[in-house]
């Protein structure tokens, strides 16, 4: 069987389910928006502070959204033992992981691209001349979140207290992603410093590369029992 086709089949299944239930879309969209507003309230009226905190708020919102998105995608799998049935087909485990990753990542990129202008407006930040570089920043940052979230959501799906456990496990691992994404996008808005941003983007890319290989290789230990 063509393994890439299997990746596509799994990804399409997750996206098709989401397009029907909209469970993740509704939850993450509102959650991110509320997070952005709440952080803005907490910062207060100081426009300079708001502008500086803009990218931090965006990435915190996206980090939480990736937890919700990954956890929900396994929730749909676990009903009626459908995921179990899927895993008794000869589909390679790496293809299952990459398929779920692809669906989650695609969703998170879209969410990031929707939330970016919202953040810029809400926090009074300026897009600046280097704004197109924010798109690869969002792509690399959300990939980092999705990599860990999809692996750990599979790991916690069968455990007690999974709702609180997933962020506890995931966030310390993705701290480099959060820091690098905040710094990179912070360097890209306003006047912008492309050279500074490039260093952070390389860190994001390095993290993504290492974890794509690692997580794909160890995923089958997560889903076996």
């Amino acid at each position: 069987m063509n393994d890439l086709y299997a990746v596509w089949l799994v990804a399409r299944k997750d996206l098709l389910q989401e397009s029907r239930s909209k469970a993740v879309t509704v939850a993450t969209l509102f959650f991110s928006a509320v997070t952005l507003v709440v952080i803005a309230f907490a910062i207060g009226q100081d426009t300079r502070l708001l502008r500086e905190a803009a990218m931090g708020a965006l990435w915190v919102a996206l980090a939480f959204a990736s937890v919700i998105s990954a956890a929900q995608s396994y929730q749909a799998d676990l009903e009626d033992g459908a995921f179990d049935a899927l895993l008794t087909t000869p589909v390679p485990r790496p293809a299952v992981y990459l398929g779920k990753l692809l669906a989650n990542w695609a969703f998170m990129v879209v969410l990031g691209l929707v939330m970016l202008p919202v953040t810029i407006v809400l926090y009074g930040a300026e897009a600046g001349p280097h704004w197109p570089w924010l798109i690869p920043t969002i792509a690399l940052g959300t990939l980092g979140f999705a990599l860990i979230a999809v692996l750990y959501a599979g790991l916690t799906a069968n455990l007690r207290a999974r709702e609180s456990l997933l962020p506890v496990l995931m966030f310390p691992v993705v701290v480099p992603i959060l820091l690098a994404a905040v710094r990179a996008s912070g360097a890209l808005v306003g006047i912008g410093d492309l050279e500074l941003a490039t260093g952070w983007l390389l860190l994001l890319a390095g993290f993504d590369l290492v974890y794509v290989v690692l997580c794909t290789a160890i995923y089958h230990f997560v889903v076996e029992e």
Partner: protein, 247 residues
Amino acid sequence: MTTETRGRWERPMWMKAWAAVIVALFAVGAYLGLVWSPPDVNQGNLIRIMYAHVSIAWIGFVAVGFTALFAALFLWRSKRMDDVRAVASAEMALLFSSLTIIGGMTYSRPTLNTFWTWDAKLTLTALMVALLVGYFIVRSLIDDPVRRGRVSAVVAIVVAASLPFNYLAAEWFRTLHPSRSISLDGSGVTMAPEMLMTLLFNTFVAGLVYAWFMVDRVRLGRLEAQLEAERQAHEAVPSTEGGVVRV
């Protein structure tokens, strides 16, 4: 409990001797750090905290590396003892990194007039504590020993792989370290030879402590496994004793 089983639980002679050597070496290390080594030009006697603090921090990181190594071995060859070794190393890593944080706080209070600094290495250690706590939470939630070992091994590997990135990010994000006299990668050693010697000696002693606890914990793990095996022996039916059912 029979005398035979009690004998099994007792620590062998050589481990007691090893413990005695550690205590003696620890005294030597304390002497080197507190008396023999000179005070620092800038920080005076405060530098003496560093000998305990940095040596423990280094061994803590080594311990996380060994946790991931044994975790990978457990996934590879499914030997129960590898899981025991991984846990033992993780426990030591948690202990050492907690001590590192306490050491860091006592160090930064007089030097920087604050208990907490977002110094890269201290931040990294705090993250390491959080990562290790996650590892132990996962272990506590799974009853089946084999599945517990395998799932937590995945966590251990992910955790260890994140440390270089966490270090890099924290280092770049904000470095507030008062003296960059010796960095984690070993480059730029600018301290006096007596000070370096004292630090390396104390690191060696901390390494011996780590190794002793590892050996002892693995010894206990092996005994547990033996008891478990004896308990289980009567439950299982030896292969082909009942005859192969052929249909």
